[in-house]
């Protein structure tokens, strides 16, 4: 191979290494951003190198150059603008959109390139197939998240039959293409079948499962890109594609595990509505759940945390864990206090007895009058097994807790509630706090939940 070829190859390998290092760094919050930058740097070098290769080899005609230039410029601008203006909450669907176009581009490569070998033909078929499924599937997924496509599982009539037909026709086209020199039209046939299949596969999956599905489609795009790499005999595409394929697969598993949903069931789309995680409270309202790790990170990066203990802390005898968590947060520089409601628990001073046993510093204990003004400045109110004493319904007349002063946790910037279920407290009524958009529920026994939070804190922050 020429010296130029050797050098570009080595540069590409270096770029791939940068992708790996980037992903490695993205495993921890502290270095994640730098990791993305390393990865982006590698990407920039790869693009520049390819430009140099194109110029050096001189095989691009003017039309192609214009097409490439205008297309790329347009795409880059579109991507940057979309990424810049998108709201935080809409990011997942944007990622899905980017994933879609990535898969589309991979599929187009196989469509546009004349295969040089049987291997290139086979990988080309795979590229088109996977790329096209990903393209349409990701678009549907993005649509579901954005609310353009209904989030609930859409049952397509005769969906299974249609899928079967699509699969058979894809195989037929593939055989035609590889074995009988079917050419572009056969590939196009595959693409069309795959596009339809992508839609059919994604529609029956519920909105709550979309993050997992997007991650899976992301892994697919990686694989498609790797296949495109085989078609073009381009090492960076093979490496980066395989890397994303595998990393995406692991990530999909992790995400599904974190949501406690079997991947198989998600793909089958038959697993209930896929919305079981959003438990209904008081009828129509939905509550938001949070994982232990997320709660731990939220606490770790907060400036001021107020712990609100209630009867559940006592029932779980979780006082030692609560104080250990508070202490760990304090050591991180978080301002921590306990807000003690006059009737929290089941006897006067119940919380004091427990917290004193666990050696919570008296300076950190605040009663209702002392703590309520502070909630507006609080980043996280951590409610541990308290219920009635935080129920905003008390501010309205006409219910069992009316007129009782409450801790104004709902004035905090965010609220994390640890309890085992949406079960009632002493007063026996629903708590409106749990359906507040700022509230996230951590369903766990207080003792176990706090212990998990503490190890989460040690692990990730």
């Amino acid at each position: 191979m020429s010296a130029f070829g050797t050098v570009t190859h080595l540069v590409y390998v270096a770029c791939a290494t940068a992708f790996v290092i980037g992903l490695h760094l993205m495993n921890t919050p502290a270095t994640a951003r730098r990791g993305n930058q390393v990865s982006a740097g590698g990407m920039a070098v790869a693009i520049v190198t390819t430009l140099v290769v194109l110029v050096h080899d001189g095989g691009v005609d003017a039309y192609a150059a214009w097409a490439l230039g205008i297309g790329a410029a347009g795409g880059a601008v579109a991507g940057l603008v979309a990424a810049r203006v998108v709201r935080m909450t809409a990011m997942p669907q944007l990622v899905s959109l980017f994933n879609a176009v990535g898969g589309g581009a991979a599929a187009l490569i196989a469509l546009g390139h004349r295969p040089a070998s049987t291997a290139a033909e086979v990988t080309g078929v795979l590229d088109v197939l996977i790329g096209a499924v990903t393209f349409s599937g990701s678009l549907i997924a993005a649509g579901k998240l954005a609310g353009r496509v209904p989030g609930r599982p859409l049952v397509v009539p005769y969906g299974r039959l249609a899928s079967l037909i699509l699969a058979l026709s894809s195989i037929t086209f593939a055989v035609l293409f590889v074995a009988f020199g079917g050419g572009t039209w056969a590939l196009t046939g595959i693409a069309v079948a795959a596009l339809i299949a992508g839609v059919l596969l994604t529609l029956p999956i519920g909105g709550a499962d979309m993050p997992v599905v997007i991650s899976l489609l992301n892994a697919c795009t990686g694989t498609a890109v790797a296949m495109a790499g085989f078609v073009l005999e381009s090492t960076p595409l093979i490496i980066a594609g395989a890397l994303v394929g595998a990393a995406g697969a692991i990530l999909t598993k992790l995400m599904a595990d974190a949501m406690n949903r079997p991947i198989g069931a998600i793909i089958a789309g038959g697993y209930g509505t896929g919305d079981a995680v959003a438990v209904a409270a008081g009828g129509t309202q939905q509550v938001r759940e949070v994982t232990v790790d997320d709660a731990a990170i939220q606490l770790a990066y907060a400036g001021k945390v107020v712990i609100v203990p209630g009867y559940g802390l006592a029932a779980a005898q979780a006082q030692h864990e609560a104080v250990a968590l508070a202490q760990a947060l304090t050591e991180r520089g978080v301002e921590v206090s306990y807000a003690i409601h006059p009737v929290a628990g089941r006897m006067p001073g119940h919380m004091n007895v427990l917290l004193a046993e666990a050696n919570a510093p008296y300076e950190q204990l605040q009663d209702l009058e002392e703590s309520n003004p502070g909630f507006a400045r609080t980043d996280v109110a951590l409610v541990i097994g308290a219920n009635d004493v935080t129920n905003p319904a008390a501010r309205r007349p006409g219910n069992p807790v009316s007129g009782m002063p409450i801790l104004d946790v709902d004035r905090a910037r965010s609220v994390i509630v640890i309890k085992r279920s949406l079960g009632h407290g002493y007063a026996g009524i629903d708590n409106e706090l749990y359906t507040d958009p700022r509230t996230a529920m951590l369903f766990a026994d207080a003792k176990a939940g706090l212990a998990a939070l503490l190890s989460g804190l040690h692990a990730y922050a």
């Binding site: 495993n27 693009i47 390819t50 410029a73 795409g75 998108v86 994303v244 790790d293």
Partner: protein, 94 residues
């Protein structure tokens, strides 16, 4: 099978292994950014599209190229930026 193809397959396998190994136990908070970061990396497809430019010569080819370039560039540029925005919230404490 050609020796080069075999080598490519080896590379593919090893890259898969790297991919599996590089994602260790990650906090759920990072799942989405990591997915987004990986998504940006397969934006490397832009390299493939550029290489494709050398082999198109028909009008359909040019159109297809332009579309592919649009797609790929959108993936890579938007992908990195959106990931960066997601990760900005993990700025280390002063």
């Amino acid at each position: 099978m050609s020796a080069l193809l075999l080598a490519d397959l080896t590379v593919f396998t090893l890259a898969l292994l790297v991919g599996f190994e590089v994602i260790s136990k990650v906090p759920a908070t990072l799942h989405t950014p990591l997915m987004s970061g990986a998504n940006a990396i397969h934006g490397v497809v832009i390299v493939g599209v550029m290489l494709l430019a050398a082999s198109v010569s028909s009008w359909t080819g040019y159109v297809l190229l332009a579309v592919a370039a649009f797609f790929a560039a959108m993936n890579v540029a938007g992908g990195y930026l959106v990931t960066d925005r997601m990760l900005a919230m993990f700025r280390s404490r002063s």
